[in-house]
């Protein structure tokens, strides 16, 4: 998982990654466990992986992803 996040960080040139952890009626212990694992295991591992790998991000010329319709952004 940390490798995947590290990959996304590089692909998307991120300097910050936020996790939305809550889901309706998720038990409070599961929420706490998720937060704890994110902070204590995942985050340090991602930083470690990125430290090993120099920032090789560069422009690829890819077209921006779009959620648009008729030239306008679509909003529900």
């Amino acid at each position: 998982m940390a490798r995947k996040i590290a990959g996304i960080v590089q692909a998307n040139h991120l300097s910050r990654f936020d996790l939305k952890y809550d889901v309706l009626h998720l038990p409070r212990e599961a929420r706490a466990r998720s937060i704890r694992l994110f902070g204590e295991k995942v985050a340090p591992r991602v930083r470690e992986l990125l430290a090993d790998d120099a920032d090789d991000w560069r422009l690829t010329g890819r077209t921006p992803a779009q959620i648009i319709q008729g030239g306008k952004a679509v909003h529900a």
Binding site: N12, L14, D18, K20, D22, A30, F38, E40, R62, A73
Partner: protein, 308 residues
């Protein structure tokens, strides 16, 4: 590259305890505990969304953040996102200047147009103004943060004449990001105003947004802005084992998506589809479970529920 920062975002989803659904008040107190926990496990930012739906208690954002400020000492406190379109920029400035003061300079904002539109009828705004209203309010809010005295007039609120708001934010204001859900126009807007970019990634492979990042960096260069940070907001759940993550998340994910799918007419969640999304690389990992939709139509509807 500067060290990567990690944020934790809550939408104020009501929790359960031993099978009992917590009251709204209990969930609010739980969120403050979770802000403390986020700080204790070394996370950099705790932020709350802004919603006006049953089952979500994150409506009075600055009040929550002020409480979180008193319960913590280091972690930065922000929003994910603030629906600027239906806020008064003057009051927003005052509220977040207050949170910033109370927290010792830890307040920040992500400003967005909203993909959930409940706030428009609730506060008496016309959804037809969706585009213009955000631009106008952003312009005013940035001037209030960046200038000392502001004289301003526009369409959606009364004019201001040499107004100096209090309490004062630090000179230049507090960190403010632009939150985007996929619109390239919003990427350009962030670059034009010289604001960092927060990409709320709900549908498809996260790498798909590399194009947005590139567009943003090119636009910054064209507008003569310095290179600014890019962040990403994803949905996920982490457990000790893959099976636990999968089972616990599915159990709670399924009813929520089912309800939204009925309200908004997109795919009904099935166990098969969930398993496929988890297992086929559409999630960011085997354990992290982003809440992911597949088609543009389902993406934008899922955004309604999860991204503002």
């Amino acid at each position: 590259m500067a060290e990567l920062e990690f944020g934790l975002n809550s939408f104020g989803d009501v929790a359960t305890d031993g099978g009992r659904v917590l009251s709204d008040a209990e969930t609010l107190r739980l969120m403050i505990e979770e802000a403390q926990l986020a700080e204790s496990v070394g996370l950099d930012v705790f932020s709350v969304g802004e919603h006006y739906r049953e089952g979500m208690v994150d409506s009075a954002t600055p009040v929550l953040l002020a409480a979180a400020a008193q319960a913590t000492s280091k972690i930065r406190l922000g929003t994910s996102v603030t629906v600027l379109s239906t806020q008064d920029p003057v009051r927003l400035y005052q509220q977040f200047a207050t949170v910033d003061g109370i927290s010792g300079g830890r307040a920040q904002l992500v400003l967005g147009r909203a993909s959930a539109i409940e706030s428009f009828p609730l506060f008496g705004y016309d959804i037809a103004d969706y585009e213009d209203i955000f631009e106008e309010k952003l312009d005013l809010f940035l001037r209030l943060m960046r200038e000392d005295r502001v004289t301003w007039s526009g369409t959606y609120r009364t004019p201001l004449e040499a107004v100096r708001l209090h309490p004062r934010m630090p000179e230049g204001g507090i960190p403010a990001w632009i939150g985007i859900g996929g619109s390239p126009d919003s990427v350009i807007r962030a670059a034009r105003h010289g604001l960092p970019l927060m990409m709320a990634i709900i549908g498809g492979r996260p790498e798909r947004f590399a194009g947005h990042a590139e567009l943003y960096l090119r636009a910054l260069a064209q507008f003569g802005q310095p290179e600014l940070p890019i962040a990403q907001h994803s949905l996920g759940f982490i457990a000790d084992t893959d099976d636990e993550a999968k089972n616990v998340h599915w159990k709670h994910w399924q009813p929520v998506v089912k309800q939204v799918s009925e309200e908004r007419g997109f795919y009904a969640p099935t166990a098969e589809r969930y398993a496929e999304e988890v297992d086929t690389g559409r999630s960011t990992s085997d354990r992290l479970r982003p809440w992911r939709a597949r088609s543009p139509a389902s993406c934008r509807r899922t955004i309604c529920r999860v991204s503002t």
